[in-house]
């Protein structure tokens, strides 16, 4: 009896529910919100919360169930589960696209992060968005996001990945512009979508390239003969892609740049902070922006074929990491600082991918999801408490009023700065060590400097927000309060994760098992960089200690300066005025894009294409010109039409004469 029941609820049969439940939640809440707003009623919060939070949590439970089941398989066996084609999407000519879900070590990690962190943030949102008019709408969007994100990470083919890829872009658009009555927020949403679309275009081309290459070879018949977008099939035939691996990888990487906010397409992410803070935590820190990393990790077999592409990925990552970190130094908006730190951390992950340390990248992805979600939610808690204020110059001393937020935030900051024994320490260190060990000294140096900067700006944030003297008016100070328990609970939970999250990947040099890496080795294989690891233990320890001290020193420096000696930075800024302005204005990149691309394009379209080619060349000269020509002809011909009937008759007689002429002569 129980056994039969278990068969029905076996992971294989439940797998699709992981994806379907959030979609159901999104549909129900969306419809509910729509109907309620149509009839000017208030949507019930409890119902919305039940659906909106319950279904993601359920989804998380199922994921956990599947994880446990798969992990329970006998050792050595690949804990991979493929649901098989759930259905055939398109079949035409030499193209078959089957859609199915794929659970392997990598997607399991991602699913757990997405549903786990996602559920937590849903719960947090109940408190954070409690007073908002669009409560149901918000949860509907958030659930929809989960749906697409799960499709992205679970899809067994590039197509399904792309579906999720664009879908999360959509949700990001909707959620950034959630408070659409503020034009800047709506514009930020649009900007995010469009910049992402640019990357997506590259991604599409990359997909097409893979397909075109594979279909041009007469591949030996297999089970999925034309299913060229399937990861398994691509992997199976990856040898054929060898000659064109570099363009393919670069095109796909363009997509990753868009989604994961790397140079040159990072500009949307800071603006995306216009959305509600839990959204920033979930989408723009923990999950969606890591899609690019996931994608490259997923296609690792392709990237290793092209050292050039790997180099590009590593360099873009490293440059983005330090570039964003410098901007983070001067920002005054609490969320903007975190946004730039996200960009910077994503840069680290790309650096790891670029040097071939795929598992390190995913490791950092995971820990980053914990601590960055924590930081954002902490920031949200602060903003919530301050009634929407986001400028850190107006904070200060908040630890008195909101201890939970403050101390969990410090944990998060410590984690991101890479301080022992918090989560970030292990993951960041893995990246730096792999970079160094791979022989990329210059990249390592950049990463090393960046790590210091990270520690500095994060503790600047901590110092200015929670320590020192309050910088706000007395009345406002009175109103500051700790957040409701639903939010506090989530902060604490994430705080714990930020501490222990890294312990699953303690490297062997420290006597750990490096479980995380071994877990993922099923997907990534034994990477080249790991060979000869054993001899490097000593070097690894030395490097780690150096970088720990380096970060620690900056962390302490920053918290001291910004908590106690706030006038120092001002003086510094005055001394290096140009540099400060350059960084403070984010290197004028937005303005540059606007000047080079946006404005010329709009002007060209409006003044030249529409104004001249359409209106003048085609319409006025072409179409109306033809009309005028006809009118001219008409004038010539109607001259004969005098209106005097006798003359018509005369023409008639002349005609008769001419015809008779023909008869007679």
């Amino acid at each position: 009896m129980l056994r039969t029941l278990y068969q029905y609820i076996a992971p294989q049969t439940l797998a699709w529910l992981i994806v379907a439940l959030p979609l159901a939640g999104a549909t129900i809440n969306g419809f509910y919100s729509l109907v309620a707003s149509r009839f000017h009623k208030h949507a019930s919060h409890s119902f919305t919360s039940l659906i909106g939070c319950g279904l993601p949590v359920l989804s998380f439970v199922i994921s956990l169930l599947i994880f446990v089941t798969l992990i329970g398989f006998s050792a050595g066996q690949d804990p991979t589960m493929i649901t098989g084609p759930l259905f055939q999407w398109v079949v035409t000519g030499n193209l078959t696209i089957d859609l199915g879900l794929k659970f392997d070590q990598l997607s399991l990690v991602m699913v757990l992060i997405v549903t786990g962190v996602g559920s937590l943030i849903h719960i947090y949102s109940m408190g954070y968005m409690g007073h908002d008019e669009g409560y149901a709408r918000y949860f509907s969007y958030l659930n929809l996001f989960l749906f697409f994100m799960l499709l992205l990470v679970l899809g067994d083919s590039l197509v399904l990945l792309f579906v999720g890829w664009e879908g999360v872009g959509l949700c990001s658009y909707l959620l950034i512009g959630f408070w659409f009555e503020d034009p800047t927020k709506a514009a930020a949403g649009k900007k995010a979508f469009i910049v992402n679309r640019i990357g997506d275009a590259g991604f599409l081309l990359g997909m097409f390239f893979i397909y075109a290459t594979l279909s041009s070879h007469n591949l030996p018949p297999t089970e999925h003969q034309y299913n060229f977008f399937n990861f398994e099939v691509i992997k199976h035939h990856s040898a054929y892609l060898m000659p064109v691996a570099t363009p393919i990888c670069l095109l796909l990487f363009l997509g990753a740049c868009g989604k994961s906010a790397q140079i040159p397409l990072y500009v949307w992410l800071p603006d995306a902070m216009a959305g509600p803070t839990p959204v920033s935590a979930l989408i723009h820190a923990a999950t969606m922006v890591t899609a690019g990393i996931y994608m490259i990790a997923r296609l690792n077999f392709l990237y290793v074929l092209s050292p050039t592409a790997m180099q590009v990925v590593a360099w873009i990552g490293a440059i983005t990491a330090i570039f964003a970190a410098t901007i983070g130094l001067t920002q005054t908006d609490i969320k903007k600082v975190l946004a730039y730190s996200t960009i910077s951390q994503l840069g680290y992950m790309f650096l790891a991918l670029g040097v071939g340390a795929f598992s390190a990248a995913i490791f950092h992805l995971m820990t980053h999801a914990f601590f960055k979600a924590l930081l954002f939610l902490g920031a949200g808690s602060v903003i919530h408490a301050m009634g929407g204020e986001q400028d850190i110059r107006n904070f200060g001393g908040l630890k008195e009023k909101m201890p939970i937020t403050a101390w969990t935030f410090v944990i998060g900051a410590a984690a991101i700065s890479g301080i022992f024994p918090f989560a970030g320490f292990f993951s960041k260190d893995a990246i730096l060590w792999h970079t160094f060990h791979g022989g990329h000294i210059s990249l390592w140096l950049i990463g090393f400097v960046g790590a210091g900067l990270t520690a500095f700006y994060m503790f600047r944030l901590v110092g200015m927000t929670f320590f020192g003297q309050p910088q706000m008016g007395r009345g406002e100070w009175q109103k500051v309060h700790e957040s409701p328990p639903s939010m506090g609970f989530v902060l604490l939970f994430l705080g714990v994760l930020s501490v222990i999250g890294g312990w699953v990947g303690i490297p062997e040099a420290f006597g750990g098992g490096d479980h995380f890496h071994h877990w993922l080795s099923g997907v990534f294989g034994k990477m080249v960089v790991h060979e000869g690891m054993e001899e490097g233990h000593a070097a690894e320890i030395i490097l780690t200690v150096v970088s720990l001290l380096w970060s620690l020193h900056f962390a302490i420096l920053a918290s001291v300066i910004y908590a106690q000696r706030r006038e120092w930075p001002t003086k510094m800024a005055e001394k290096f005025q140009f540099l400060y302005k350059l960084i403070f204005n984010k290197y004028w990149i937005d303005e540059l894009y606007d000047f080079i691309i946006v404005r010329p394009l709009v002007t060209l379209s409006e003044k030249v294409f529409w104004g001249v080619i359409d209106a003048k060349v085609i319409d006025q000269y072409g179409v109306h010109g033809a009309g005028r020509l006809m009118i001219f002809w008409n004038r010539c011909v109607t001259a004969v039409q005098t209106g005097v009937v006798q003359q018509y008759l005369l023409f008639f007689v002349i005609g008769v004469v001419l015809i008779l002429w023909g008869f007679v002569f």
Partner: protein, 518 residues
């Protein structure tokens, strides 16, 4: 008995049911608005039902199905010959699907000359369905013209703004093309054994020069209709000034006549010419995609913006057709349907807000999402479909078209991908300016949200969008063999070889015609 008879005349039924409705409307008194509307709606629904009925009898084989042949004008060897393959059947279905919605959308918009309006609508449907179903070139031409006249009146009488100018521009542009097409039809008629039969034409041994000229003549007619890049300027005017229903039909069905013409006639008849011209046409298509998108971006009138977006979308269709592989062609066909649904829905939505505010200027709106959430939901939904969000219909078509184009025509596919980015830019920018931001205009504060009738119009469209986006297979299954046959014909290198390429039923049809002739 009757049922069987009807079953064997399903196509004729679909073509002439609307005509019957039109004649019936003529009998009704002028001031009986309610019964006129009900009759029109009833007959369009009836046609739709017939279409659904026909769906079961249409199997998607490699030949023409539901054929009917009758002698019409024996002296000139002209037959009343109907038949559909997968593509035309789907387009007919699209037409019949849109018509009831369109009639429903005119419920309140049309206040003057309702009787004439509904009459013309139904005649228009006859013309459209007939054009898709005709297999005799003469019959095709007749239906083609039947379709133009009602549209001319719809724009000219019930339009807005500079409607007369728009109507003239529409009809003159189209007539120039169709007259050239008539010349080409007559040339082929005399060249190839005096037959208007579609199948006979496939075996006419045209020389290269002839092919080029004839292709140009046919192609111009269709290119204007599509519209391909430099021939597109009638479209924004006609779309903008036409009444809502007119715009919907114009975008949803009439534009497809051009691409369908390429698919059915111009390309299979003149394969050499297709090879010769395809780089130029592909260039125009890609230019159309980019150019249309860029110009759409800077429009100030919502309808005009959507009209320019049609130029871009139809560029994709042409790109897919001329990619000359099955992915591209099927993507193109799917894109025709998708464009009909999405752009049709956009026009309907614009019409709904126009009914309330009597302006289409983007600047007259702003922030109305807060006031009309349901409307905003539908609009954004359709917008997303239009910009090709995965999971909705346009994505499937665009994906296949781009993939097909990339595979065989490399660079054109790459440039066309730009269209994906640009479409997001212009649509979302418009959505931002119309729906988001502060509600500033006084008039907008009194806006009414959608009523039940309007929701009923939009829901079937949205469901169709989701359906095609998620599970396009049932639709695509109908057209596999047709597109295969099309490719075989278009790729043939030798006119004589085409005789062998004809599928069995083509042969059957020929014999059939012979029998009737004797």
């Amino acid at each position: 008995m009757l049922i069987e008879w009807l079953q064997s005349h399903l196509l004729s039924l679909m073509v002439f049911l609307p005509t019957a409705g039109a004649l019936f409307i003529l009998l009704l008194p002028k001031n009986e608005a309610a019964s006129i509307k009900a009759t029109a709606l009833g007959f369009t629904l009836f046609t739709l039902l017939t279409n659904i009925w026909a769906w079961w009898f249409f199997h998607g084989l490699a030949d023409f199905e539901l054929q009917e042949t009758l002698t019409w004008i024996p002296a000139f060897n002209i037959y009343y010959r109907l038949g559909v393959d997968g593509v035309s059947f789907l387009l007919i279905t699209l037409t019949n699907f849109l018509m009831p919605l369109v009639v429903l959308s005119s419920w309140r918009e049309i206040r003057t000359k309702l009787k004439e309006y509904m009459f013309l609508m139904l005649i228009l449907q006859t013309g459209m369905v007939g054009t898709f179903a005709a297999l005799d070139l003469f019959l095709f031409y007749v239906f083609w013209e039947v379709m133009l006249i009602p549209m001319y009146f719809l724009i000219g009488v019930w339009g807005s703004g500079r409607k007369i100018m728009a109507a003239f521009k529409f009809i003159l542009y189209t007539m120039i093309g169709s007259v050239l097409m008539l010349v080409a039809i007559l040339y082929g008629y005399f060249k190839g054994g005096q037959s208007f039969n579609f199948v006979d034409w496939l075996t006419i041994p045209f020389g290269l020069k002839e092919q080029l000229w004839l292709f140009l003549a046919f192609g111009l007619a269709f290119a204007i209709k599509v519209p391909l890049f430099p021939f597109h300027t009638w479209l924004p005017d006609a779309h903008t000034e036409a009444p809502t229903a007119g715009s919907v039909i114009l975008a949803g069905v009439l534009l497809k006549m051009g691409t369908y013409g390429f698919y059915r006639f111009a390309m299979p008849f003149f394969p050499e010419a297709v090879r010769y011209f395809s780089p130029y046409i592909l260039t125009l298509a890609v230019v159309g995609i980019v150019y249309g998108s860029l110009v759409a971006m800077v429009q100030k009138d919502v309808k005009r913006l959507v009209a320019y977006s049609s130029v871009a979308h139809l560029g994709f269709v042409i790109l897919g057709l001329f990619a000359l592989n099955q992915k591209g062609v099927e993507g193109a066909v799917l894109q025709m349907i998708n464009h009909g649904l999405s752009t049709g829905a956009l026009f309907l939505l614009v019409g709904m807000i126009y009914e309330r505010r009597h302006t289409r200027q983007i600047s007259a709106y702003g922030g109305i999402a807060a006031k009309v959430p349901v409307y905003a939901f539908f609009f954004i939904f359709v917008t997303l479909s239009s910009i090709g969000l995965p999971g909705l219909n346009n994505f499937v078509g665009e994906f296949l078209v781009l993939l097909g184009a990339f595979e065989t025509k490399g660079i054109f596919g790459i440039v066309a991908v730009l269209g994906v980015v640009l479409s997001a830019i212009y649509m979302l920018w418009m959505v931002e300016r119309v729906f988001f931001g502060k509600l500033e205009h006084e008039e907008n504060k009194k806006l009414q949200d959608l009523g039940l009738r309007e929701v009923l119009i939009l829901v079937p469209l949205c469901l169709a969008m989701i359906g095609i986006g998620v599970y396009p297979k049932p639709i695509m299954n109908k057209m596999h063999s047709s597109t295969e046959a099309f490719l075989k014909l278009t790729m043939r290198t030798d006119a004589k070889a085409s005789a062998q390429l004809l599928t069995p039923s083509h042969q059957y049809m020929k014999n059939d015609a012979r029998i009737i002739k004797n």
